[in-house]
Amino acid sequence: MSHQSTLDYELVWRDDGHLTDIAVTSLADGQLELLPERARTHATDCAECADRIGAAALVSLQAGEALGEPALALAPRELMPATVRHPLPIAAVAAALLLAVLGVVPSLPLLRALLLQTPSLLLHAIPAVAHSAAVVLESGGDPAHLAVLWCAVAVMLMAAGLVVARVAPRHASKGEH
């Protein structure tokens, strides 16, 4: 059975000089070889037809996805925005660390004293915290105290959440990278 391998004239052109829906769909599907050169040029130059080709390509893409066409799980890296990789500024980091060390040197004797005091501070702090906890637990029968405690905890949690939300890097919403 012999058939033409390109689209007939009337399947390519509308009376108003623009491309037919069939030609537009063919171009959206990458079937360039089915169309005469003049139609390809028109598709490049005519804004109206280019927009129709774009709309058809979008439908083709979405229809393919819905029908299970093997598609974009293939190469996610191409979907990432172009990024410029900056090398780690080693010299700047080293200079900053050096400055920090130099800044600490004068206070090293104090640091030593603080380190020596730490065990005794802990020894005092741990019983104080334990005592506070015991007081709270012993007042467990008092609903008023408990209500205040729960409110305070809730406020602290909310404050912590707000801090995290403000400080954490913002992840884009749906579809964004």
Binding site: D29, E69, P70, E78, K174
Partner: protein, 184 residues
């Protein structure tokens, strides 16, 4: 972007054949005319990413959905950049952020809402496919699922290539109607 160099290797012809679709898709999403600087920049970026990543495309994997997917992604990124710029300038960022086209064409993400919407869309398209006459349905299946071109489909089905074009176009119109259901 000038035409791709013929020395770029395997896939050149397929990529080049999709140039009108990539430019058109970008122009459609950005709501600009072809030739607009943003459209041409996005199209160039799409082909740059495709050329860089084409070695990672599996053997025999269809180029068209992959390339158009990149184009869609690049265009949506550009739209979002416009939205951020508009918000910075105190302009119409909200208008752009609520643009139905962004919601409609965004890649199905991992969020439950997006997954649910995607499943509903799949169901609508499947229903529309089931309602198509047998031959247009077969032509669309051969195109989308077996990756055949119009000429190969015409040979397989024993019909002129114009008939395949007509079937695919009409079938696609039904699918487009299904895809746009519940979208306002």
């Amino acid at each position: 972007m000038p035409g791709l160099s013929p020395t770029e290797g395997v896939g050149f012809d397929e990529l080049e054949a999709l140039r009108p679709a990539v430019r058109g898709l970008t122009a459609h999403l950005l709501r600009e005319r072809v030739g607009h600087a943003d459209v041409e920049d996005c199209a160039s970026e799409t082909f740059r990413r495709a050329l860089e990543g084409r070695e990672r495309l599996h053997d025999g994997a269809p180029v068209r959905p992959w390339l158009l997917g990149i184009a869609r992604h690049v265009a949506l990124d550009a739209l979002r950049a416009r939205r951020r710029a508009a918000l910075r300038d105190g302009g119409a960022g909200d208008e752009l952020s609520s643009s139905p086209i962004v919601e409609r064409v965004a890649d199905p993400g991992p969020l439950p809402d997006a997954q649910t919407e995607h499943r509903e869309r799949v169901a609508r398209v499947q229903t529309a496919m089931d309602q198509l006459p047998e031959q247009p349905r077969l032509a669309l299946s051969l195109f989308h699922l077996e990756g055949l071109g119009y000429r190969e489909i015409a040979e397989r089905m024993g019909v002129p290539v114009g008939t395949v074009g007509t079937w695919v176009t009409r079938g696609r119109q039904s699918l487009a109607a299904a895809l746009s259901e519940n979208e306002t």
